[in-house]
Symmetry: C2
Subunit: 247 residues, 2 copies
Amino acid sequence: MIRTQALTFTQDCNDCPIRHRAVCARCETDELARLEEIKYYRRFEAGQSVVWSGDRMDFLGSVVNGVATLTQTMEDGRTQMVGLLLPSDFVGRPGRVEAAYDVTATTDLVMCCFRRAPFERMMHETPHIAQRLLEMTLDELDAAREWMLVLGRKTAREKIASLLAIIARRNALVGTADDHAVTLELPLTREAMADYLGLTLETVSRQISALKRDGVIVLTGKRHVAVPDLVRLMAEAGDDTDGGLPA
Amino acid sequence: MIRTQALTFTQDCNDCPIRHRAVCARCETDELARLEEIKYYRRFEAGQSVVWSGDRMDFLGSVVNGVATLTQTMEDGRTQMVGLLLPSDFVGRPGRVEAAYDVTATTDLVMCCFRRAPFERMMHETPHIAQRLLEMTLDELDAAREWMLVLGRKTAREKIASLLAIIARRNALVGTADDHAVTLELPLTREAMADYLGLTLETVSRQISALKRDGVIVLTGKRHVAVPDLVRLMAEAGDDTDGGLPA
DNA sequence: GAACGCTCTTGATCTGGGTCAAAGTCAGGC
DNA sequence: GCCTGACTTTGACCCAGATCAAGAGCGTTC
């Protein structure tokens, strides 16, 4: 059920694979060149804030490397992560300068950014870009709704398994892996995982221990996880597995 | 925090206010005429399914009247509502014929539909439409993420208050109301509310009783709710109230 | 107007996950 | 090597909300 995005980078875009996928899948050469002009890179250290909710955000861009999170906070301090930005994911809303969420780098992070004004101008002149952004936003919406099911109806164990499955799937496409066994590096602390899953960090820790005890995962270090059987993991997540993996 | 969409219909669009807002806010007259050609109305009875997840959906459209829900279901029968479609909301994904969710009318429903093929053709030829759809989709994404906070971090009482506040705000704009007192008709059964909130119907019922006991709401019939003080209700929902209401 | 089928309310009890507390692991700095 | 601080694990206990169960309200049908 968790839709996997095709990360089919093309060689003609090797200095910034992201730019290609994110906003320019069907652009002509001269359009690519224009994007090139307004593009720049930003680096963030693990733990650093990219932007705070309500602040001015004068760029839009995609993650090249590393992991960032989108979180919402209530006045009393309760927080909920509402999005996980993995390489190739796009942040920023055209036409609205104030950030709607806190964006935080959870690992060292490299982003490919576009300055807002020229990007928006270009979007208005280049129909492909708005159409591409629409597709990407629809994918994000599907992912958010998928996550609503996780938050609203799954047990703690299923929630952990769902998160691991998402990361494993994204990883599996980038790295090499046979269909059923995957290893992955958790880019999140237990606390950040809890924020994503609507749990406490203690519960996260306990459920990870339980999955380990039951052989669903093998821990080789706090953050390094081996999944011997991805199908098993997805079953633990409560997902239907049909069509999930290539045959 | 719950963003309210401006439902500013213009008089030049009186036979189908929705069409205007939904996809053609900036179209020229001839484009409006083309939309007119491919538009038709569909009516559904309360309880009837609009489309099942996975089925072919050969139209897109917006709600004119009534309420529909988007729900996701797990194999074991657990369900989670992932969206509430109130008048002026749009359903359907351009470029993807299979519905991703179950769409169900919870009241008698009128939709203004566009046949898929000509609509998509028009979208590709008319940049305004893709841009408008992008904006609408970004609004939906914000709403979905808002809801993730509700599902993941709010208590049962706060969840109920949040739902009432959403409906009250949408209602308040359409109907007449002074700033602080609103009455509304619940378009959902207790069970549907539970599905939206990630609760059981018993808990929904108990919390509604509690809010009534505490004077936050006044029940005049099972489904008819008077909110004497919307600010109070929003405080119960755990929302920050700044900017929420006109002064 | 009795019987039926919904929807909703309320009570009693149970439990998954939260809360509080303490101890274990590990990387980096000196 | 040992200290420090951040992260993680584990234990004991508790409570919000789930579950199970019984009725109550109320519109429809015949």
